[in-house]
């Protein structure tokens, strides 16, 4: 077909090259999502705290991260982490740290919008019941903010999954790298890229379709 030969790929190659990469891409996505939500929520709370000591560093961090290309952030961390801890660090571990730090900035913006979407009356009601700030956030505000923002959080996770391919810059072994290596070794790089595109497409399309379904469900409940 059009000068391509897709027959070279068999199960042996897939299990040898691709599955390991796919597993790392998924692992990176899940860890960065969870870590990003935790640290992102903290950043959001800092920015909404009303105290300058907390607001200023959080704002600088979030806006700074969002102003730089992800590839540059990946390169920065890969350069700086070994420098700070005094010993070399693997590309995979560096990628995990980078993505948590980077995604925290994006998730914090989502969580900030989510927290602000909760009517003030609810916060005041919590205070009137004698709840502390922590109890109010944990029991009243955050659960609702999280539920309101769930579709956007999931959409961001799909973008995150696509962005994991950028670990190419530091040579970490992810899904794309698995296909690239298989293509190189078997002398079929173009076919390998095409198959990589198909696999990414199927995963991302299925995920965004489920998010759409979920969104429709939530919309009715509200």
């Amino acid at each position: 077909m059009l000068g391509l030969d897709l027959t070279f790929l068999d199960w042996d190659i897939i299990s040898k090259f691709v599955l390991g990469g796919l597993w790392f891409s998924i692992k990176l996505t899940i860890i960065a999502t969870l870590g990003g939500i935790v640290f992102g929520t903290l950043l959001a709370l800092m920015r909404l705290s009303g105290r300058k000591v907390l607001m200023l560093p959080a704002t600088i961090y979030v806006n700074g991260m969002r102003a730089i290309p992800l590839v540059m952030v990946i390169l920065w961390f890969f350069l700086l982490i070994p420098f700070l801890i005094g010993k070399p660090i693997g590309a995979e571990l560096s990628a995990i740290v980078t993505f948590i730090a980077f995604e925290a900035a994006y998730f914090s913006e989502i969580m900030r919008a989510g927290i602000q979407s909760i009517p003030r009356g609810q916060v005041h009601a919590g205070q009137a019941l004698g709840m502390s700030y922590g109890q109010n956030m944990r029991l009243v505000v955050l659960p609702q903010a999280f539920r309101n923002m769930l579709p956007i959080l999931l959409t961001q996770t799909i973008i995150l999954f696509q962005d994991t391919s950028l670990v190419y810059a530091i040579g970490a072994y992810d899904l794309l790298k698995g296909f690239t290596n298989a293509g190189k070794i078997y002398g079929r790089p173009e076919e390998a890229y095409l198959l990589a595109a198909v696999v990414y497409f199927v995963i991302c399309y299925a995920l965004s379709w489920s998010v759409k379904r979920l969104q429709a469900k939530i919309a009715i409940v509200r």
Partner: protein, 240 residues
């Protein structure tokens, strides 16, 4: 650790300083981003508009496929597709320079996102505007040209601005196919000079400066084209 900014005055081995190389690289970044922006806005406006034409289901389907296809494949993979796979499948593309192929990749990828914004912008307009235009005897094309699109574009300016800044940042992936842009410069200069921190700081500053410039230009445009008394319509712009 001590700074060594002198490194930018060193010769890179080809008779120019690292500073000159970096300025060239900045030019490539702006060229890639600027050309891709034109492709993205033209195709995004077209596809976003097509998706709202309820009387032509096939055009809606075509535009939907366009958006889903370019939105659900990572940008880096799309760059590889354009750079390696397309020329192999269609020999016609073997004559096309790599720069143009990257512009297609980045432009089409971004066009899918802009198409979604254009569609949302059109759909956020009160139905009455379309009906009013049709009642005045406008054809569908005229209604879009004179009534719907001018309003829709003003509404989506804020998200379009942040998408333009995303495009600028995304142009960094061009490093993967050896376009001599800023990220490529950063990686190579870091390796050659071992002054990674200085090199990365300078490159990061240039990215931030460029993004800031885009932001200012859009703010100016937003002010220029704003319709008196209709500012609140822009309040819907979310954009992440």
């Amino acid at each position: 650790m001590s700074w060594d900014w002198q490194v930018f005055l060193n010769d890179d081995g080809s008779g120019r300083t690292y500073l000159e190389w970096m300025i060239d690289a900045w030019g490539w970044t702006l060229a890639v981003a600027g050309s891709s922006w034109v492709v993205a806005v033209v195709m995004g406006a077209l596809m976003g508009t097509l998706r709202t034409l309820q009387d032509s289901p096939w055009l809606v389907r075509l535009a939907t496929v366009w958006v889903e296809l370019f939105r659900n494949i990572p940008l880096l993979v799309q760059v590889f597709l354009w750079y390696f796979v397309v020329p192999k499948m269609f020999p016609l593309f073997q004559q096309v320079p790599g720069f143009v192929l990257v512009v297609f990749a980045l432009g089409f990828f971004t066009s899918a996102r802009i198409a979604e914004q254009v569609r949302a912008g059109i759909q956020s307009l009160p139905r009455g505007q379309r009906y009013a235009a049709l009642a005045m005897g406008f054809t569908t094309a005229q209604a879009y040209r004179y009534v719907i699109l001018p309003m829709a574009f003003r509404i989506i300016l804020p998200p379009l601005t942040s998408e333009s800044m995303n495009l600028l940042k995304n142009s960094a992936v061009a490093f993967a196919v050896s376009i001599a842009e800023l990220t490529m410069f950063a990686m190579q200069a870091q390796e050659e000079t071992s002054r990674g921190v200085e090199v990365y700081l300078a490159v990061t500053a240039l990215y931030m400066l460029s993004a800031f410039a885009v932001n200012r230009v859009s703010a100016t445009i937003e002010k220029r084209v704003q319709i008196p008394g209709f500012i609140v319509a822009g309040g819907t712009g979310g954009g992440h």
